[in-house]
Amino acid sequence: MEKIRIEGVSFIYSKGTPFERRALDGVSCSFEAGKITCLIGHTGSGKSTLVNLLNGLYRPTEGKVYLDGEDIWARPKKITDIRRRVGLVMQYPEYQLFDETVYSDIAFGPKNLGLDAGEIDLRVREAIAFVGLDEALLSKSPFELSGGQKRRVAIAGIIAMRPEVLVLDEPAAGLDPRGRREILGGLTRYVRERGITLILVSHSMEDMASYCDNVVVMKDAKVFMQGTVDEVFSHPDELDAVGLDTPEITKLAQGLIQAGIVLSGALYTVEDVRDAILRYIGGNAQ
């Protein structure tokens, strides 16, 4: 089922000035409910503009954005409702922390929703658990935390709003491998448990292979490809043409297949290829 549908959307920056630039050009795509979709593409491909359209921060120059089948701009005065339902975490959100304690920073959004103190407390504790931080940090100043911890506090602030759709722009950028796994693993667990729709902007084909169900590839202000991870990965030449590399492990598996070692099934992660090799050995032993 579609959670968000983009239909024929164009977006033009500085329209009617000499700086006019078409950042999106007749884009149509959809994001399935309860699934994790990776939005991938180069700097300048239009993906950040698309992200800003999803929760009504930008209004399309042409075309429509539907949330649960309803045009989000049908009643422009109600657009704040859409922003509550679609939570957006920008790049490097740790620069947006501002409050005195981690607790009050995470509680800021729920407080503005007019919730009572008990409900706010529940949501703050739930959100910090999902991003994998200890409750002991709640009383600290966010500015005493490490970069990776700050990032998680910022994400927890959006989770505490309990949005139906969560959009994250490069949530793991600049983190070490463990930090990446903890953030992306925690988010995946959260959306699976709650049936939330997750849209992940990423440059990493490895992350896309490990965490996502579907993929939308943007190129030159248009949707270049969309489909399941399997479908998109089955077009390596097209991916290469937009500067997206097939994961190293997939290339390795393809090399084995060319050498006559017939591996079957998905071959996008180290675990996939390990299992395929073990199946191959098992098959030959019989």
Binding site: A173, D176, L252, V270
Partner: protein, 293 residues
């Protein structure tokens, strides 16, 4: 052996955090690290966030001064407090550093003025500056942008301009502190290619501090820092054969090395290691066609 280009002896550094409380809190960042680097070496430093690797870089580039221990660059003790101002300037010229965030490194409103900023401060004659700026910009492939405004460039382009600004100082050593972390794949590839060309063709000693294992695998040598200490020091083959230890300290190996480790865990007997997809493919072909079993 006294002829190492960079010699770090028993370095320690402690961050003092006075914060809001009256009693200072001490965070040891480096704890007795010794490290020798040869002239022209291409070294990668790995470690999780907070491991102390950036502190080490800041000590070598004289941004910080060690609490104890010595650093020698080309035989000069850079921690010597009696070092004159001229000698300090000269050392800072010789050790360049490129940081993670491209937006924090550019100072001027025109690309070529930004690149000229360092040489101008060295008091170099203007025709020589002109030449250095042009050479540096063409080396990073940004000559066509010399009159552009830096803030309108992409992250990768900004980072290339920042590198040109360092190159124009004619340094002997360049430290890249997670310089590719905020870039997209194309920006990353460009910066890495420049890094390697400076090392191979111009003999510049390159230290690449990174979270990307595939970048580290390309270096001559890898040093892994953990909890302020040197954990591993060796060739990429040697370092990446310690997969369980790397996992323990929050790191990974390149996917090829991870695959071999995972197959061993599943009970296969594999006697050699590989860290590149080509090496791993050949090893697995031998293994699966019965040659190595």
């Amino acid at each position: 052996m006294n002829d190492y280009f960079i010699r770090c002896e028993n370095l320690s550094y402690i961050y003092e955090d006075t914060g809001e409380s009256a009693i200072p809190v001490f965070h040891p960042a480096l704890d007795g690290v010794s490290l020798n680097i040869s002239r022209g070496e291409y070294l990668a430093i790995l470690g999780h966030n907070g491991s102390g690797k950036s502190t080490l870089a800041k000590l070598i580039s004289m941004i910080l001064t060690p609490k104890s221990g010595k650093i020698y660059i080309d035989g000069t003790d850079i921690t010597d407090e009696t070092l004159g101002e001229d000698a300090q300037y000269e050392l800072r010229r010789r050790v360049g550093m490129v940081f993670q965030n491209p937006d924090n490194q550019l100072v001027a409103t025109v690309v070529e003025e930004d690149v000229a900023f360092g040489p101008e401060n060295l008091g170099i004659p203007s025709d020589e500056i002109r030449k250095r700026v042009d050479d540096a910009l063409s080396l990073v492939g940004m000559q066509d942008y010399k009159r552009h405004a830096p803030h309108k460039l992409s992250g990768g382009q900004k980072q290339r301009v920042a590198i040109a600004g360092i190159i124009a100082m004619h340094p002997d050593i360049i430290i890249f502190d997670e310089a590719t972390a905020m870039l997209d794949p194309i920006g990353r590839r460009d910066v890495l290619a420049i890094m390697e060309r400076l090392n191979r063709e111009d003999g510049i000693t390159v230290i690449n501090i990174t979270h990307y294992m595939d970048e580290a695998a390309r270096a001559d040598r890898i040093v892994v820092i953990n909890d302020g200490k040197t954990l591993l020091d060796g060739t990429p083959d040697e370092v990446f054969s310690n997969v369980p230890l790397l996992h323990e300290v929050g790191l990974e190996a390149p996917q090829s090395a991870e695959l071999i480790h995972a197959l061993r865990e599943a009970g296969l007997v594999i006697n050699s290691n590989a860290i590149t997809p080509e090496g791993c493919r050949d090893l697995l072909i031998r293994l699966l066609s019965g040659g190595d079993r």
